[in-house]
């Protein structure tokens, strides 16, 4: 008996020691730079943020969600960057688009260095784009692997690159501008990039160097890159540490910024040691209607009746606890830079809904995910729909099953939520244009086709004059709001709280809601 006991103790100690050892194998470590204490007397600024494993931050090995994407972007720069108002020059000092919209000329900044000391040139840009056409990265900004719209890339000299495309397309500048530039001298002989996890895979020319990555703990450490070409880093070290509950960790000072729910907002508001920021509403829920499965939805009156019968204000109040904006019938959320406020509004009105329905009654099933807000939205909508004479059966499944059902068109009505509503208005085309030829990520609106909307969708895509394009997008929103082929419910805002004395540089960019995900939050911008 005694022997057995000793043996168990031995195992227990061995297990603990071993677990310790595995931890020592922290990956990466490029040249581990000494923290640059720039000015004398000035303490290096070090901030801690919520960690979690989001993959090794090379363009091919990070995980596909937001926190993975932006960690990779700290290391890798692109031709343009997202600023507070719009795209700003970055690796490209300036650019020019020919009148026919088919030739892009970028002037690449001189004196940019890769984090291993090699110079970055126009050759690297050409290489990166060509590499992406062969191997699409996880966050595929260019999207040229299956439909290559680039006809020719020409390096004129070290600093000038010309890109010829097959047709004018208003979304291309942003695509070219946000695709990450990777070093030719490292990637040119990598032919299975998803398995390339060498420490060289995380050498970019961005402001931060990865010094530590611990996958199982979900911890990262980034250090300012000394020879960075661009704006000075205001933060010298960014650490991502594992947390169990982010609010507890924030209270304990383990992390310096956290997202909070409206319920605890009052605790931090008007308290000098905290600062609260409200995020722009670029994440939203929508109600999708499947007109192929239930042709009744092709009747515009029914769709408008549905829109009138949803009390969006109530949902914002009760489900989002005020931290949301009512969805716009024209899809682009109210805080989108191109939101058209003169579109048709569907204020909650059961009588109007009843009138539009003309005493007809309907029965539909509504597919939702299994998260708390989704279930509440579904149940609250159900009550009001019933008042108008539309009976709903709510069917709740896990999020992946719901996505699969939506993709396969296996639903009547479906509620789902996703981010990116602040992006290029071309998303209207992806959402509303009828899909008979092309395949896209969204299932679109099965069974729906409207000639005018289709036409406007195509027009805005090819209109290179920004003012003219804006006009088309405004008209498109009016058309969409009138037709209301799917119903945006609300866009969440949410709050972040931080300690300004620790770091106060958090900024929002024009199309994204997460302050920590923006490069300019960490840099000294004029």
């Amino acid at each position: 008996m005694k022997k057995g006991f000793k043996f168990l103790i031995f195992i227990m100690i061995a297990a603990m020691l071993l677990s310790g050892c595995s931890n020592e194998k922290n990956v990466a470590i490029n040249q581990k730079e000494e923290t640059v204490a720039k000015e004398e007397n000035k303490e290096p600024v070090e901030i801690n943020l919520q960690g979690g494993d989001w993959g090794y931050p090379s363009p091919y090995t990070h995980y596909s969600r937001g926190p993975g994407i932006f960690k990779m972007r700290l290391i890798f720069d692109s031709l343009l960057e997202r600023g507070e108002e719009g795209l700003i020059p970055w690796l490209a000092e300036s650019w020019d688009i020919s009148d026919d919209g088919r030739l892009y000329t970028f002037k690449i900044r001189q004196g940019v260095k890769w984090q291993d000391g090699e110079p970055m040139t126009a050759e690297d840009v050409k290489f990166s784009f060509e590499y992406y056409s062969k191997y699409p990265p996880v966050s595929d900004d260019l999207g040229i692997s299956e439909n290559n719209y680039i006809e020719k890339i020409e390096v004129v000299d070290e600093n000038i690159i010309k890109i010829q495309v097959n047709e004018p397309n208003a979304t291309l500048l942003e695509r070219f501008g946000t695709a990450r530039i990777i070093p030719k001298h490292i990637w040119s002989d990598v032919d299975d990039p998803t398995k390339f996890t060498d420490s060289k895979a995380v050498i970019g020319c961005g402001p931060y160097i990865l010094t530590d990555y611990n996958e199982e703990q979900g911890a990262y450490r980034f250090e300012a890159f000394k020879d960075y070409w661009g704006p000075k880093q205001k933060v010298d070290v960014i650490k991502f540490v594992p947390v169990s509950d982010s609010l507890l960790a924030f209270e304990n000072g383990e992390i310096d910024l956290t997202g909070i729910t409206p319920d605890v907002l009052s605790k931090y508001e008007n308290t000098p040691q905290y600062k609260v920021l409200e995020s722009p509403a670029y994440w939203g829920y929508k109600l999708a209607l499947n007109m192929e499965k239930r042709p009744e939805f092709k009747d515009k009156n029914l769709r408008q009746a549905l829109a009138y019968a949803i009390d969006k204000e109530e949902l914002v109040e009760k489900v989002a606890r005020g931290a949301a904006r009512v969805g716009s019938a024209g899809y682009l959320p109210v805080e989108h830079i191109w939101y058209n406020k003169n579109i048709k509004q569907y204020d909650f009105d059961i009588d109007k809904a009843k009138k539009l329905l003309d005493n007809k009654t309907y029965n539909f099933t509504l597919l939702t995910g299994d998260s708390n807000p989704e279930l509440r939205i579904a149940e609250l909508m159900k009550i009001n729909f019933e008042k108008a004479g539309i009976n709903i059966e709510v069917k709740s499944v896990d999020s992946k099953s719901r996505d699969a059902a939506i993709k396969n068109g296996d639903y009547e009505m479906a509620l789902n939520g996703y981010g990116g509503w602040g992006g290029d208005p071309d998303m209207l085309r992806e959402q509303y244009r009828s899909k008979n030829r092309e395949k896209t990520i969204f299932s679109g609106i099965p069974g729906y086709s409207n000639e005018k909307i289709n036409k406007l969708c195509e027009e805005q895509l090819h209109e290179m004059n920004e003012e003219k394009r804006k006009e088309i997008v405004f008209e498109l929103q009016e058309e969409i709001a009138e037709e209301i082929p799917q119903i945006p419910i609300y866009n969440t805002t949410g709050y972040v709280v931080f300690r300004p004395e620790k770091y106060d540089g958090w900024k929002h960019v024009f199309n994204h809601h997460e302050v920590t995900h923006n490069k300019i939050s960490y840099l000294e911008m004029e």
């Binding site: 103790i9 596909s64 450490r221 896990d398 969440t492």
Partner: protein
Amino acid sequence: MNCIKRILEYIIVFFVIISFNFFIPRLMPGDPFTFLSSDEGSVHSSYTDEQIEKYKAYYGLDKPLWEQYKDYVYNLFRGDLGYSIYYNEAVSSIILKRVIWTIGIVVVSIVLSSLLGIFVGAFSAWHRNSAIDKIIYSIMIVFSEIPSFLIAMLLLFGLAAGKGWFPLSGGITVFGEYKNVFEKIKDIVHHGFLPVLALVLSQTGGYYLLSRNSMITVLSKDYMLTASAKGLDDRRIIFRHGLKNAILPVITRIFMNLGSVFGGAILVENVFSYPGIGRLMREAVMVRDYVLMQGIFLNICILVLTMNFLADIVCRKIDPRVE
């Protein structure tokens, strides 16, 4: 003959389990590449249909199911668990990095909770029906009925967040530097203390009840009467004569229990963000990473089968009457 039969049984069970591991994840709706929705506030990069096709081909998911199954079994016997779709890494190396943490807290908590259960149970049985027995009994019942993750949450809020005695999360201080190995062990124990405590609290009750019952039965035996008639002191009677006979069902339970302790550990790990297999499993299911799911389930299954097998052997060793 008997032995061969048992081994055959184990092999059949193993095959049934790996087949389930293979088919159930793949028959769930959804696939690893379709993301139409995301958690509130989070953004997801989406793939086009062509990209999804490309990825499916890359990971061999475009082949018919039975062919994938054939490949899976073939690779399994070559010791190849495959390559994780979401994590972009060999499944065996992902699991190896994490399983050690889980085994650590599971083993420590089993040892502690079974010892505690056995001794307190024996003590209770000796003083059965007294006030102290009744108090211990009710406390143990209460703790054995609370799910481990709930205890974990109470501990997290009380001792880690409230008092600040323990770290809130993780298995080790990140980016920590240690003067010597003892400091490191101290750090690991410090981090592991609450997860282990949560498991111990929820497990001890079961062992206690078993030990107490078994001890009460033993105490009514004639040889116990003989022992006290010989004038032996209480401690000697309980531990030498009583416990030795009463412990058998507890030992069996320790091994049989392993599956459920793993289950509990998985939930507790999620509460403390402990870097073990539990969090990994949750993530793998959520993103439909078939290959990784198979790998994790396979490992747990092998572990549980081995433990059952050991339980068989150990019980025979301790009590030759078991057949």
